[in-house]
């Protein structure tokens, strides 16, 4: 049993699942940057009281699951999303979807994901894949971060769907409920909504640890890490920051480049000159994040490591925060044609 489905690679798993499933449902205009932007994917949060793999909890994008939901909603497409208590039920419903010709998005853990390289297999449970068929005991898998489609045995799939720990997927599957054509007018409106929401998230979210203020907060903390944690642990923390920023899925520069690409695509729908200028600002911010990563690498590889070197790191983050603040303020002031 195999659904007629085209595997496409993306930078980020959830963007990729969203894009592929929506295309399958007749939304021909959708691209990864559009899905990311309409879903208001750009974010920053540093949660100082939470640890992930013994390092700091940092995210450059919005909470898992939201991009799919928001993008579908903005385009007027109803979403089906289910979690399961029983593994049998989870497989039964999956098989029913496939039998009905419906490719299905699944949230999975990566620790037991057999086709991933060992080096990437931490207990991270918010990965997303598409199941689009079954041949004998093998499920056909489209994993957006992989160039080619792949497969998992029914046991392997069950295992990753029922991975445990933080963000446990509990067999979660999701898909757009109906095939619908989406007009360019709808895309235009969705772009506007997505940008507005992202402006609010980055500029107006309360508290000091998220949005632009979160980046500044992190900058302040980094300059204290060397004294507080000692050089070795501070290095490990910086390595974790770089992994969250650059590892599979961000498209480079902690999603800033994807967002810049989104604004360019938005310009094709809304020919407002400012969008191109603001897009360039996000490119610049992404470049600074990458310079910060190079600086961090110097520290965790032990090539540099003085307090001044940590301060340089903080300065990069502050520079990014300044640019992104201006960019989002500029976005909030755009006069959208009615």
């Amino acid at each position: 049993m195999k659904v007629d489905f085209k595997h496409t690679q993306a930078a980020h798993c959830e963007n990729g699942v969203t894009t592929s499933l929506l295309r399958h449902h007749g939304v021909n205009q959708i691209t990864e940057p559009l899905a990311f932007g309409i879903g208001s994917g750009l974010f920053f949060i540093y949660i100082p009281f939470m640890k992930i793999n013994n390092g700091p909890a940092i995210a450059f994008r919005t909470q898992p699951g939201l991009i799919f939901n928001r993008t579908c909603k903005a385009l007027g497409i109803p979403v089906a999303r289910k979690k399961f208590r029983s593994k049998e039920e989870a497989e039964k419903i999956l098989m029913e979807c496939l039998a009905a010709g419906q490719p299905v998005g699944c949230q999975v853990g990566v620790y037991y994901l057999t086709y991933f390289p060992k080096e990437y297999r931490f207990h991270f449970n918010a990965h997303n894949i598409i199941v689009y068929g079954r041949e004998d005991d093998n499920f056909l898998i489209s994993d957006p971060v992989m160039e080619m489609a792949t497969s998992l045995s029914s046991y392997e799939l069950e295992r990753v769907r029922f991975a445990k720990g933080a963000f446990a997927p509990r067999g979660q599957l999701y898909y757009p409920k109906e095939k619908r054509e989406v007009t360019n007018e709808q895309i235009k409106k969705a772009i506007k909504t997505g940008i507005h929401r992202n402006v609010n998230l980055m500029l107006r979210i309360p508290g000091p640890i998220a949005g632009i203020r979160g980046i500044r907060y992190m900058a302040k903390k980094i300059s204290q890490w060397r004294d507080k944690l000692g050089p070795k642990k501070a290095g490990s923390y910086l390595a974790q920051l770089v992994r969250m920023q650059e590892e599979i899925g961000t498209g480079g520069g902690g999603f800033r480049f994807i967002y810049a690409a989104f604004l360019q695509e938005a310009h094709a729908y809304h020919p407002i000159p400012e969008l191109i200028d603001i897009s360039k600002q996000f490119t610049k911010s992404g470049d600074i994040w990458r310079s910060a990563a190079v600086q961090a690498a110097g520290i965790y590889k032990g090539r540099i490591g003085s307090q001044a070197d940590f301060d340089v790191m903080s300065d990069y983050l502050r520079a990014s925060a300044d640019i992104e603040k201006q960019a989002f303020q500029a976005l909030s002031k755009i006069k959208w044609p009615a």
Binding site: A11, V145, M146, G252, A293
Partner: protein, 135 residues
């Protein structure tokens, strides 16, 4: 990032698949390009695994000094923490914490030991002796 600046430093993932990156072409337009990896981030991943190895080594020493039970060793070996072990085994977190103690471990029932052995994918004998053949 400009297209010609995209790093191509072969990393662990690069051997299996290229990663999509968003880059700017000569005319300033965004496009995607595959990257085989970037030395800056593969060394970040190295740091993470060295930390894991250190934790495994520390755990091993602790068990040898009877300061902890082999469950600590296997927990680190499988890159888990107490909440993850609790979630997979069905024990409460406080129970797992207790089982991390050397003395408590010696008195664990066979059924409890079997649960841990299953999670860590070793035999009960290997669980007790920490002798595992990891290739």
């Amino acid at each position: 990032m400009k297209r010609d600046e995209l790093p191509q430093d072969l990393g662990a993932l690069g051997k299996i698949t290229g990663e999509i990156c968003y880059v700017v072409d000569e005319s300033g337009k965004y496009t995607t390009q595959l990257s085989n990896g970037w030395e800056v981030k593969s060394s970040a991943l190295d740091v993470a695994w060295k930390d894991v190895e250190q934790r495994i080594q520390d755990a091993h020493n602790k068990v040898a000094n009877k300061e902890a039970s082999p469950i600590l060793f296997f927990m680190e070996l499988r890159v888990m923490d107490i909440p993850i072990v609790a979630a997979y085994t069905g024990f409460w977190k406080w129970q797992v914490k207790k089982h991390l103690k050397f003395d408590v471990f010696q008195k664990l029932s066979p059924s409890k030991l079997a649960k841990y052995a299953e999670l860590f994918e070793v035999s009960v004998e290997e669980l007790k002796t920490m002798k595992v053949d990891e290739s």
